[in-house]
C-alpha cells in the first residue's frame, strides 16, 4: 500500500517535471525577446534542480546534493550578465 503510494507520487513528480521542462523549452525557443528567454532559462534551471532533488529523494542517496548547491549558487549569473548587455531600443531609448 505504502509502496504503491510512493511509486505513484514519484511518477506524478517525474511526469510533472518533464512536462514543465518541455513547456519552458517551448518558451525559450519562441522568445520573443531575449529577456523572455533569460527568465525561461532561469525557470528551466529551477526545474532541473527540482528534478535532481526528486531523483536523490526517490532513490535515497546524497551523491547529487553538492550539484544542487553549486547550481543554486551560480544560476543567477546568466540572468545578470545577459541583462547587463540588453540594448535599449524603441520609444524608451530616447527618454
Amino acid at each position: 500500500m505504502i509502496d504503491v503510494l510512493t511509486l505513484a507520487l514519484a511518477w506524478v513528480a517525474g511526469i510533472a517535471l518533464t512536462t514543465a521542462a518541455l513547456l519552458v523549452l517551448v518558451r525559450i525557443v519562441r522568445g520573443p525577446t531575449m529577456l523572455d528567454r533569460v527568465i525561461a532559462t532561469d525557470v528551466l534551471v529551477a526545474v532541473i534542480v527540482c528534478a535532481v532533488g526528486v531523483e536523490a529523494a526517490v532513490f535515497r542517496h546524497g551523491t547529487t546534493l553538492p550539484v544542487l548547491l553549486t547550481v543554486s549558487l551560480f544560476a543567477f549569473i546568466s540572468a545578470v550578465s545577459v541583462a547587463r548587455f540588453i540594448i535599449p531600443d524603441g520609444e524608451e531609448a530616447r527618454r
Partner: protein
Amino acid sequence: MTPPDASPWVTAADVLGMAFLAAGACLSLAAAIGLLRFPDLLSRMHAGAKPQVLGLFLVLLGVGLRLRSGGATAILLLVAIFQMFTVPVGTYMAARAAHRSGQARREDMVVDELTD
C-alpha cells in the same frame, strides 16, 4: 522503498516527503504553463518566480524528510539560503533591463517608480 518493519514515524516521514516532492513538481508545472500562456514579460516573470522559490523549497523539504541525515540537511539548508539570495538578484536585473529597454508595458502599470 520503505522496509516493512519500519516504525510509523519513519513511514509517515517517507510518505510526507514524497507528497512534498509531488507538490513541488506540480508547482513547477503550473509555473511552466503560466510562462507559456501569460502575455508579457513581467507577468511571465511573476509566474516563473514560483518554482524558483516555493517549488524548490517544497522539493528540498521532501528530500530532507526522505534522507533524514545531518549532512544532507545542512546542504539542503544551504541550497535554500543561496537560492533566496541569488534569485532576487537575477530577476531584479532582468526586470530593470526590461524597463530600460522599453519591454515592460507602461500602460499596465499603476506605479512606475523607475521613471518618476
